[in-house]
C-alpha cells in the first residue's frame, strides 16, 4: 500500500503587519477583522498581536474542511463552509497570502448575500490589494445562466474524478437516478484531471454537472460555452438559482 506524508511548506519568515496595512484599516475605521490565510501563512500569532495592539478585534474561525484555524482552502467557497459566520459579523475580511485562488473563495462564499470586499495582504511583497464583487461578476452571471440551462436540459453529463479527495462517485450515481426519475437522460463520465476541452466530444449532452473540485463550476465555467454546474447546486437547482438571483451581485 502506498502511504502518504504531507509537508505544509510554511513561509520561512515571521509575518508582521506593515504601516500601510494598519493605516488602511484606520482610515477605513475598521474595528473587527475576519482573518484568513492559506496554509503557508497560517501562523499569524505576532501579526494578530500587533493588530490587537492597534485596538482591532480579530475574529477567527475554522473552515469545515481544514484542520487549522484561520486556514482557508479554495473549496471553502460556500456560505456554510465555515464553523462560525465571522464573514457577516466583521467590518472587513482580511486574507494573508499570495495568489487569487483562496481569497476569491471568500468572495464566492458570500454569493447569497451582499458581497463584502476582501483585503489581501501579500506577506512576500508586503503589498495590499482589494478584490470586490466586480471580480466575480462574470462568474456569477455564468453560474445563473448555466443553472437556467440545466433546468431546461433533457440530457445531462455528470463528471466524476478518480482523485480520492474530490471523488463523489456515489453522489453522482444518486444524482443520475434522481434525474432519470424526472424523465431526463443522465450519463456518468470518469477521468483523473478533468479537462473541459473534452466536453466538445459529447455533443449529445446539453448540460454538465461537475462533482470534482467546486471551483470548476464557479471559475473554469467562464471559458466554456457548454453549461456546467456543481453537484451541490444540481441537487437543488431551483433554490440555487433563487439564491443567486436574490444575492446583491
Amino acid at each position: 500500500m502506498v502511504r502518504l506524508a504531507l509537508i505544509e511548506s510554511e513561509y520561512e519568515k515571521e509575518i508582521f503587519p506593515t504601516k500601510e496595512l494598519i493605516n488602511h484599516l484606520k482610515e477605513n475605521k475598521i474595528k473587527t477583522i475576519a482573518l484568513f490565510a492559506s496554509i503557508q501563512f497560517a501562523t499569524l500569532d505576532k501579526f494578530t498581536e500587533e493588530l490587537e495592539k492597534e485596538g482591532l478585534e480579530i475574529k477567527i474561525t475554522k473552515a469545515k474542511r481544514t484542520n487549522k484555524p484561520l486556514q482557508v482552502l479554495g473549496c471553502d467557497c460556500y456560505s456554510d463552509s465555515f464553523a462560525e459566520s465571522i464573514i457577516n459579523d466583521s467590518d472587513i475580511i482580511l486574507y494573508v497570502g499570495d495568489g487569487m485562488f483562496h481569497p476569491k473563495a471568500l468572495l464566492l462564499a458570500q454569493i447569497k448575500t451582499k458581497i463584502k470586499p476582501v483585503l489581501i495582504f501579500n506577506p512576500i511583497s508586503e503589498s495590499l490589494e482589494i478584490i470586490t464583487e466586480k471580480d466575480i461578476e462574470k462568474q456569477v452571471q455564468k453560474m445563473k445562466r448555466n443553472l437556467r440551462m440545466f433546468l431546461n436540459s433533457e440530457s445531462i453529463g455528470i463528471l466524476v474524478t478518480i482523485k480520492p479527495g474530490q471523488q463523489y462517485f456515489l453522489s453522482a450515481k444518486r444524482l443520475k437516478e434522481k434525474l432519470e426519475s424526472e424523465g431526463k437522460k443522465a450519463y456518468i463520465f470518469l477521468d483523473d484531471s478533468i479537462n473541459l476541452n473534452n466536453l466538445e466530444n459529447y455533443p449529445f449532452i446539453q448540460s454538465w454537472v461537475n462533482t470534482a473540485c467546486p471551483r470548476i463550476g464557479t471559475d473554469d465555467i467562464v471559458n466554456f460555452t457548454q453549461p456546467i454546474i456543481n453537484l451541490k447546486e444540481a441537487s437543488n437547482p431551483i433554490t440555487a438559482l433563487e439564491d443567486l438571483e436574490n444575492g446583491k451581485s
Binding site: R3, L4, L6, S9, E12, I39, C75
Partner: protein, 86 residues
Amino acid sequence: MYKLELEKVIEEVKNKEAKQVVVQLPDGLKNKSNEVVEHIEKNTDAKAFIWFGSCFGACDLPLGLDALNIDLIIQWGHNRFNKEDW
C-alpha cells in the same frame, strides 16, 4: 522562501521504511524537486521519483502507484483536510 522540511522528510522515509518514494510538489515548488530527490537519495536507502503532473491540493493524490511498487508519496504545500459529504 518556503520551508521544505527536509529533515522531517528523511524521518518520514526512514520511519515508514520506504524503498521507493514519489515527491509531489505544487507548481511553485516544482523547481526544487531535484534538490529534494538528491537529498532523499543521499540520506536514505530509498529511491526517489518526481510526480510530473498536478498537485492542486491534498485532494489531488496520484493513483495507481502501487503498480510501480511505490510505498510513499510525499506531497508539499498542503495539509490534511476533511472531505465533505455532498
